[in-house]
C-alpha cells in the first residue's frame, strides 16, 4: 500500500509538467496547427521562471513572466504559420532550437542555483484516512491541482461549449468554419498562443516543483514526449491525464529500480521512456491503420481563403 502510494505520488510529480505541455499541444493541434516547439517552449518557461524567481523572489511575478515570454514566442509561431502560412514543422523546429539556445544563454549565470521560493502546498490533511488516494492528494502543490483543473476545463471547453465546437471546426475544416462566420485566423492565433503558454508552464512546473534548479537542457526531451502523448491521448484532454501520469511513472520507475540495486544497466532504464514512446506510436499507428485517425482533419494545412481544395 505504502509503495503503491509512493509510486503514484512520484508518477504525478513527474507527470504534471508533461500534462501541462500535452494539454497545450492538444489545444494547439485542435485548431489545426502543429506546434513542434514544445521542447524550446518548456525550456524558455523553465528559465524564465528561474530567472524571475531568483531576481524578485515572487512566484506570481515568475508566473506572469512565463506567460509573457512563452505567449510572445507562441505569437511568433502563429504569425509565421497562420499569417505567413510558412511550413509549420520548420517553424516549430526553429522555435525548439531558438528556445534551447536562448535559455542556455540566459540561464548561464543562474545554473545550479536553488530556488528561493517553493510552490505552496494545499493542506487537505482531513483526506488522509482514505486509503491510497487520501495520502496522495492531501499534500499536493497548487501546480498539480491547477493541471487537474485544467484537464476538466479544457475537456468541458472542447466538448461542451460552442466556442470549443468552433475551435474543432477550425481544426477539421477551416473552409466550412469560415463560411459559417467563425473567425478562423483568430481561433488559430488564440489556440497557438494559449497552447504555447501551457507548454511554457509545463517547463516552469518542471523547474519549480520537480527539480528546482536550472540546468541547461533540463527538459531532456520531455517536450517531444509531450508531442507523442498528444497522439497517444487521441487529442482528448481526459486521456492526456492518464497518458502523462503513465509516462511520469516510467520516468521515476527507472530511478527506483536503480536504487533497489536492479541488475539492469541504468542507461537502459533511462532509455525506457523513449523506447516506450516509439512502441506506443507504432501501436497507435497499427491500431488506426485502417480507421479514420482521431487527429484534426486539417492538421498541418495552412488555410488560404481563396484556395479551393
Amino acid at each position: 500500500m505504502e509503495l503503491l502510494s509512493q509510486l503514484l505520488a512520484s508518477a504525478m510529480a513527474a507527470g504534471t509538467p508533461l500534462l501541462f505541455a500535452t494539454l497545450g499541444g492538444i489545444l494547439t493541434e485542435r485548431s489545426g496547427i502543429i506546434q513542434l516547439g514544445a521542447e524550446g517552449l518548456m525550456l524558455m518557461g523553465a528559465v524564465t521562471a528561474a530567472a524571475t524567481l531568483l531576481a524578485t523572489g515572487s512566484l506570481l511575478l515568475a508566473i506572469a513572466a512565463v506567460v509573457a515570454v512563452t505567449g510572445a514566442l507562441g505569437a511568433l509561431h502563429a504569425f509565421l504559420t497562420v499569417t505567413l502560412r510558412s511550413n509549420q514543422i520548420v517553424s516549430g523546429l526553429a522555435l525548439t532550437l531558438f528556445g534551447g539556445g536562448l535559455s542556455a544563454y540566459w540561464g548561464q549565470s543562474i545554473t545550479g542555483q536553488p530556488m528561493p521560493v517553493q510552490v505552496p502546498v494545499a493542506d487537505l490533511s482531513w483526506l488522509n484516512p482514505i486509503p491510497v488516494l487520501g495520502p496522495l492528494v492531501s499534500h499536493l502543490n497548487l501546480f498539480t491541482w491547477g493541471s487537474l483543473l485544467l484537464v476538466v476545463v479544457l475537456w468541458l471547453y472542447l466538448k461542451h461549449t460552442s466556442w470549443g465546437l468552433h475551435l474543432r471546426a477550425v481544426g477539421d475544416n477551416p473552409a466550412t468554419a469560415d463560411v459559417m462566420g467563425i473567425p478562423v485566423q483568430f481561433y488559430r492565433y488564440a489556440a497557438v498562443i494559449v497552447g504555447a503558454v501551457l507548454m511554457g508552464w509545463g517547463g516552469a512546473s518542471l523547474l519549480l516543483v520537480f527539480s528546482p534548479t536550472w540546468i541547461e537542457g533540463m527538459t531532456a526531451g520531455r517536450g517531444w514526449i509531450a508531442i507523442a502523448l498528444i497522439i497517444f491521448a487521441r487529442w482528448n484532454p481526459l486521456y492526456a491525464l492518464g497518458a502523462a501520469y503513465l509516462f511520469g511513472l516510467l520516468d521515476t520507475v527507472g530511478f527506483r529500480l536503480q536504487l533497489a540495486g536492479s541488475p539492469i544497466p541504468p542507461y537502459f532504464l533511462k532509455m525506457l521512456p523513449y523506447l516506450i514512446t516509439i512502441a506506443v506510436l507504432i501501436l497507435v499507428g497499427w491500431r488506426t491503420k485502417h480507421k479514420l485517425s482521431a487527429s484534426p482533419q486539417a492538421l498541418g494545412l495552412p488555410y488560404i481563403r481563396e484556395q479551393r481544395f
Binding site: 509565421l80 510558412s86 531558438f98 548561464q108 531532456a220 526531451g221 507504432i282
Partner: protein
C-alpha cells in the same frame, strides 16, 4: 482601411539575398540580446569572426567542424527533399561513431588497409540501420518520422554514455569517459600536421555524388516530383514507400559516415559528448542551402565557423550557447523570408497590391 496578407501559391521563390538578409537579421537580433547583457556587440562579433576565420588555426578548426555538418546536412537534405522530416541525424551520427569504434575494439590489430574501410562501412551501416528504424514505422504504420527519429537520438546518446562510462572505458584513462585512443592504423590521414583530415575529401565526394544523382538521374527526378507533390507522384505510379526507405537509408548512412570520420579523423577515440549537436545544426545547414548539395558546402563552413566563433567568445565571458542562439534565429528569419516571394500585402477595398518582390 485594413492591410492583409495574401498568399499567391504560384509566386516566385525568394531571391538569394533573402538568405543573406536572414543571416544579417539574426545577427542583429542576437546582438540585441548580447547588448542587453551589457557586452560590446561589435567586439563580440569581431572576436567571433576572428576566432573562426582570422587565423590559420581558426580556419582549419572551422573546416574540421564543417565536415560532420556536411555529412549530416547532406543526409537530412535528401530526406527533406521528399518531405520526410528526419531530425535524427544526431543519433545516426552517434551510432556511426559507435560502430566504427566497435571495429577498433573487437579487431584491434588490423592494418590500415583493413581497419579503415571496415570502420567506414560499419559507421555507414549503423547510421543506415538507425535511419531504417525511422523509415519502417513510417511506411508500415504511418508513424510520424519526426517523433521516432528524435526519440532514437536520445536512445543513441544513452547508448554512447553507457559504453564510454562502462564496458568501453579506457582502463588507463584516469576515469576519462572515453575509449582507449585509436592506433595510427585506425586514424584517417590528416593534411600536413593540421587537424584537418581526409574526411573532408570523403564529404566533398559524397556531395558531388549526391549532386549528380539528384540532378541527372531518374531517381533524382522522382525525388523532385515527390517533393513538389507527393499525391501527384503517387498517382503517377511512383513507389513512395520504396523511396522513403531508400532515402532514409542514405540519410542515416551519410550521418553515420560523419560519425566515423569524426572519431577516426578528429577525436581518435569514442568519447562522451562526441557531438555538440551537429545533427541539429545540420537541419539549419540543409535548410539555409535550400537542400542544394553544393550550397550545403557553403552553409556548413559558415556554421562550422559559428561553432568555432562561439567557443572563442568564451574568453569575453559569454557562454558558447551564443552560437546556438544564432542558429535558431537564422532559421526563424529564413522561414519567414522563404515565403516572402509568395506573400502579397493588400489593402482591402482597393485593387492596389504591393509585393515584397516584384513579379515579372
Amino acid at each position: 482601411m485594413a492591410w492583409r496578407f495574401e498568399i499567391d501559391p504560384a509566386g516566385k521563390d525568394s531571391p538569394w539575398w533573402v538568405t543573406a538578409a536572414a543571416v544579417v537579421l539574426a545577427f542583429l537580433l542576437v546582438g540585441l540580446f548580447i547588448a542587453l547583457t551589457g557586452k560590446d556587440v561589435v567586439a563580440v562579433y569581431l572576436k567571433m569572426f576572428g576566432g573562426a576565420f582570422g587565423t590559420s588555426f581558426g580556419l582549419t578548426e572551422t573546416l574540421v567542424k564543417a565536415i560532420p555538418l556536411l555529412f549530416c546536412g547532406l543526409g537530412v537534405s535528401l530526406a527533406y527533399r521528399i518531405q520526410v522530416w528526419n531530425i535524427g541525424a544526431e543519433g545516426q551520427f552517434i551510432v556511426g561513431a559507435i560502430a566504427a569504434t566497435a571495429i577498433t575494439i573487437y579487431f584491434p590489430h588490423l592494418p590500415a588497409w583493413g581497419a579503415l574501410p571496415l570502420m567506414l562501412v560499419a559507421g555507414a551501416a549503423a547510421g543506415a540501420l538507425w535511419g531504417y528504424f525511422t523509415a519502417w514505422p513510417k511506411v508500415q504504420f504511418q508513424v510520424n518520422e519526426l517523433m521516432i527519429s528524435l526519440m532514437l537520438n536520445y536512445v543513441a546518446i544513452l547508448l554512447l554514455n553507457d559504453l564510454v562510462f562502462g564496458p568501453w572505458r579506457d582502463p588507463h584513462g584516469m576515469n576519462f569517459p572515453g575509449t582507449p585512443p585509436f592506433t595510427p592504423a585506425q586514424m584517417l590521414p590528416s593534411f600536413g600536421g593540421t587537424r584537418l583530415h581526409f574526411g573532408l575529401v570523403l564529404a566533398l565526394f559524397a556531395v558531388a555524388l549526391a549532386g549528380v544523382f539528384v540532378q541527372k538521374t531518374r531517381w533524382g527526378y522522382e525525388l523532385r516530383l515527390i517533393g513538389a507533390n507527393p499525391e501527384a507522384a503517387r498517382h503517377a505510379g511512383i513507389n513512395l514507400r520504396r523511396h522513403i526507405v531508400v532515402v532514409m537509408l542514405l540519410s542515416g548512412g551519410l550521418a553515420g559516415l560523419g560519425g566515423f570520420s569524426e572519431v577516426s579523423g578528429v577525436t581518435h577515440r569514442l568519447m562522451y559528448g562526441i557531438s555538440p549537436g551537429y545533427g541539429y545544426t545540420a537541419i539549419i545547414v540543409a535548410w539555409i542551402a535550400r537542400l542544394n548539395p553544393w550550397g550545403i558546402v557553403v552553409s556548413s563552413v559558415l556554421f562550422g565557423g559559428l561553432i568555432v566563433g562561439g567557443y572563442s567568445v568564451q574568453t569575453l565571458g559569454l557562454p558558447s550557447s551564443v552560437s546556438a542562439l544564432l542558429q535558431g534565429a537564422v532559421l526563424f528569419f529564413l522561414i519567414a523570408g522563404s515565403i516572402m516571394g509568395k506573400v502579397k500585402l493588400r489593402r482591402s477595398g482597393e485593387g492596389r497590391r504591393w509585393n515584397f518582390f516584384r513579379n515579372s
